[in-house]
Symmetry: C2
Subunit: 353 residues, 2 copies
């Protein structure tokens, strides 16, 4: 029998954080692409557009006027999926028809007064201000709600409808599905092994060095062993940190600088403003803020949709929607591409270190 | 306190089949859309193109020449994600780094010799031939593999790279993630309630009549109570059927006719060839074919990406990827739109009954 090589032989890998499997079929990158090509929006964005509701001084959908902010700016989403008051659906009359109350708050956070920048184009102190704002909003909304989801949809491909650099914050009265899965997995791992799952995972990746993308004094960026999206990465603190507000000033500065490096590498990969959805996961808040959440390790997930170039994405469709996630190149190959040492095709460009 | 109304008040709903929650925020349909608009490919497809590898008589990537088929045509995928032989990754050296062997077969099935038709444009006997071919391939590959996933990616928006009407069949040596979830949920429900989950669910929907889209002598189509995609539907036999090959001739004819009706309604909804990913789920096969799988009920899921029109899709991004699925209109509202009785905006068109 042939010797197993991950880059040649299909196999499945387990995601212990989200309790899911992924099918890895690296040999599939060889197939030609004849499918949909995404429009590349090279339209220049004006630095200031008084009609853009995210700009300083602009009027929003609800008639409010934005202040002339010069750093970050946080406000209530004018079309929130979660509102603070909503009646309870009441008891269910059948176990197959279960509905429950959902309450919450949706906010939008502008990263910068200018529309023509993105995080990697911002300075390290400007990114640090975003991190401070993330920590504050987690503290503020976490006082009341058990889950505060910070996420950024970047690029039109990720459903982002406004080019102004911004993220969203949705706080909810319930623990969302994926939070529940991560809670369960980390809890189980901690009780079985006596250490936090992601702290141990980070240590292992530092030893193995096969999937590391960037390391700094306080942070690690890696392509997880179980990554689903082609260029997915995981950003982890080296120290055991449960929630964003716990980060100390040195860790925040270092985070700003490693984020700038990662996002610059991403932009260089396909010479485009790299689209992604990203978000932070930390220990539950609300009534849980006091509870022992020692099994939790703070982390950010980056999920970029691109596969082969700035215009060819990975489609998570038929098999993925109905059976299981599937990927076309190994996490170990991806690391090399992001680092830019191995130039596989004209699509894979050298990243600046 | 206000009285709860699903179409006005956000709430969460539970999917007992896949053990997941969805956030329903129907009031959100009011927000304006300024994001990405999909290209509408109105390009006419030639009925026969000798350079299209799916056409009768054409040469495929591996050099093989297709027969001049005049019904359905099944062949091996030239770029398979699963191959029959692959070495085993061997034992794992750490619980956070688990990989396992994956073996299988990937096939492509053309539905019709012509490239310019889709299932709803085909005749009922032609669709019946597709159903027979689905049953045969399930039987053939199910003899060896525990899971045979039949799925169709329709439309460029769903990553479909060839307009010729076709589906794919991926059989695997492992039970994929979603199959495992459905296995677990149906098993538990059956042992607790003494009846198959989806059989009871179908009965309930027939009584409640709030989410039914189509019914026939042997089949039901409904928008599930827990639907995630805006126009998602579930297709169920009325009788307890575990796998496609068990369907009798009358049930197959009736299935062909209800599929044609459903897909025609979908095409009418936004006056476009409606994109979707769909697939069949039945009881596991392989060594399990003989085992009691009485908790299983055969069904097909339809997952269409569109939200507001032929060019505006629902993006499952930030919150959905990092926290939980979220939808902008209720399953009950969707039923009315698909049936075409309630014209909400110029985007929602009257479907032909
Ligand atoms: O096999 P195809 O049609 O080339 O590929 C399509 O369907 C596959 C199975 O759902 C996906 O993995 C691919 O991302 C998608 O582009
Ligand atoms: O809130 P936005 O940016 O208008 O909307 C975007 O992000 C939301 C949260 O991930 C998604 O539910 C929407 O489908 C997407 O278009």
């Amino acid at each position: 029998a042939a010797t197993f090589r991950a880059s040649e032989h299909q196999h499945i890998r387990y995601n212990p954080l989200q309790d899911e499997w992924v099918l890895v079929s690296a040999h599939r990158m060889k197939r030609p692409w004849q499918g949909q090509v995404e429009p590349q929006l090279l339209k220049t964005v004006p630095r200031h557009d008084p009609l853009n509701p995210l700009c300083p001084g602009a009027t929003r959908a609800n008639g409010e006027v934005n202040p002339h902010y010069d750093g970050t700016f946080l406000f209530d989403n004018d079309f929130p999926a979660l509102q603070p008051d909503a009646p309870d659906p009441g008891p269910s009359d059948h176990p197959l028809f279960r509905a429950e109350a959902a309450r919450g708050v949706c906010k939008v956070m502008c990263f910068h007064p200018w529309s023509d920048v993105t995080l990697p184009l911002m300075s390290v102190p400007e990114i640090r201000a975003v991190i401070d704002a993330w920590a504050s909003v987690t503290e503020e909304l976490g006082a009341q709600y058990p889950w505060v989801q910070i996420f950024e949809n970047k690029g039109a491909m990720m459903g982002c409808s406004n080019p102004h650099p911004h993220c969203q914050v949705w706080a909810s009265s319930f623990l969302p599905d994926i939070a529940q899965r991560e809670e369960r997995s980390q809890q189980t791992y901690h009780s079985q092994h006596g250490k936090p799952l992601l702290l141990e995972y980070g240590h292992q990746e530092l030893l193995r060095k096969e999937r590391l993308v960037l390391t700094s004094e306080h942070w690690i960026v890696l392509v997880p062993f179980w990554a689903v999206w082609p260029f997915q990465t995981l950003l982890l603190p080296r120290r055991h940190v449960r929630r964003l507000p716990e980060l100390n000033p040195a860790e925040r500065d270092d985070l700003a600088s490693i984020m700038k490096k990662l996002l610059t590498k991403y932009d260089n990969l396909f010479e485009t403003s790299f689209p992604y959805s990203m978000g932070w996961h930390g220990a539950p808040t609300g009534l849980k803020t006091g509870a022992t959440c020692d099994h939790w390790q703070l982390h950010a997930h980056y999920y970029p949709p691109l596969l082969r170039s700035a215009t060819v994405r990975k489609f998570m469709v038929g098999y993925e929607m109905l059976a299981q996630a599937q990927r076309d190149l190994t996490p170990e190959q991806v690391r090399t591409h992001i680092l830019g040492r191995h130039i596989r095709s004209p699509h894979f460009l050298t990243g600046s270190q």
